[in-house]
Symmetry: C2
Subunit: 283 residues, 2 copies
């Protein structure tokens, strides 16, 4: 297919997660989205900090872009008091940033096992306890938290939430507009229960992120996310389940991949728009 033109109704729900164009600053990514007719953007705190929160907020507002997510808070599993207090403080700042940016949600990657610890239950318990602090703070700022289950290969070092069902269990004590979940195809495509859990998620789906699963995995398994169509994921059943769950928000393309990061970001946006329509929308 040819690349869908800016203004095409097929792009109406596409969001560029700014990690996909890692080398671009917030103003550059905003400008790229405007040129390419992509109406929404997922921001990252490291990029926002480099530009400044207020300046970033102004850039997206003046460009008329929606901010589909802010990535990310979390890392809530520390087992010593100082580190735990610092993590909560950092998440409070992230909530304020999300409010200033008008982000649809603040994505939380909850953290792995603390160094040297094997206490998986304890780490999960501290995530639960942290939410008791952060959910009210988020509600005060009108910010929605999005718990992100990460692929189980990151359980030890990045996120002790590994399935959508588990993330929903953690979210359950809170209203859906305060604690939602992130549905990311890369992390959950393998789950035999994935469609049932997406339906269960219903109004808790705070963001829908897409990218493909590549094999072989690269040496740095964080970088194994591929452009839709380059890997093994069939997006149609996941897209349909998310729609059946009632989600009508933006669909973010978030790709961590050295080849994608090395490419010209404008070309990456073209590919993103084309593959999104071809592999996610129309598939």
């Amino acid at each position: 297919m040819t690349t869908p033109a800016p203004g095409s109704p097929e792009l109406a729900r596409l969001s560029l997660n700014q990690k996909t164009t890692q080398r671009w600053s917030v103003p550059e990514a905003v400008e790229g989205c405007v040129q390419r007719g992509i109406p929404a953007i997922g921001l990252w705190r490291e990029h926002v900090a480099a530009t400044g929160v207020e300046a970033s907020a102004r850039a997206v507002r003046e460009a008329g872009l929606r901010v589909s997510s802010l990535c990310r808070g979390g890392f809530l599993t520390a087992d010593d008091d100082t580190a735990r207090r610092e993590a909560l403080d950092d998440n409070r700042r992230a909530i304020e940033e999300a409010a200033t940016l008008g982000a649809e949600c603040l994505v939380l990657v909850v953290g792995g096992l603390p160094k040297g610890s094997r206490d998986l239950d304890g780490a999960r318990e501290r995530v639960r306890a942290s939410l008791e602090v952060l959910a009210p703070a988020a509600a005060d700022h009108g910010v929605r938290l999005a718990l992100e289950p990460l692929h189980p290969m990151y359980c030890a070092d990045r996120a002790v939430l590994s399935t959508l069902g588990q993330a929903l269990d953690f979210a359950e004590p809170y209203p859906p507009d305060v604690v939602g979940v992130a549905v990311d195809t890369f992390h959950i495509w393998w789950d035999p229960d994935v469609r049932a859990q997406i339906l269960r998620a219903g109004p808790r789906i705070a963001t829908f992120q897409v990218c493909d699963w590549l094999t072989p995995l690269p040496c740095d398994v964080l970088m194994g996310r591929g452009m839709m169509g380059d890997g093994h994921i069939d997006f149609a059943p996941l897209r349909d389940a998310v729609a059946a769950a009632g989600y009508t928000g933006d669909i973010e393309v978030e790709i961590f991949n050295d080849d994608v990061w090395d490419a010209d970001p404008h070309a990456v946006l073209d590919t993103t728009a084309r593959r999104y329509v071809e592999r996610v929308l129309r598939a």
Copy 2:
């Protein structure tokens, strides 16, 4: 602790999965087990083929070792008829080998997506259909199949069974002594539902395999299995769940790891026995 002496009752349930001493032939691994006082062995078909099935069976029988498992059959997801027929034939041969060797079970790694396919449901359906053929064949030979859920990072290329719960669903139509499951700490430690599913497994637990989860994962993620104590897994709760499920069989140490494979196999057996007692039995 000092290395437990041969004859120690603490070694009574220890089994050496022969992958842990990859460079040893069947006779060498059998001799190593005898010297080290390890009363059981998990055999691999490639090693058995090199020695010969009858000669391997004689070696373990004359040494008085139990054969806790034969690894492995499976790869049942092919979507063309020829490949599918070949896979079933190969599994029938594996069943015969398991019978000849007197193995407690034949471990099945079910296979990933066929090349170029994204039809995960279809691949799973073909596993289900293959079991309808293989379970009666196994029963005829008095062989028990052990469905092994592999870590979800292998879903695309190695096993579309990713959780113990899913493996149990696949086993359910068959008697537990015909189709059981393999409980391997490396593959399932992250699962928030792991203890409930181990209890559910009950008499279907056909083998209990232990090794650790290392970070960072090596470039070849197949080789990320570590000696118990070198990684992130807390073995005690898994050991307790397996015991509560009623499993009293052998506990296999199965390690794919370049450093372990490069080491002197006798030293590896010493470490295996010591870490097994320290990290699995007494932890």
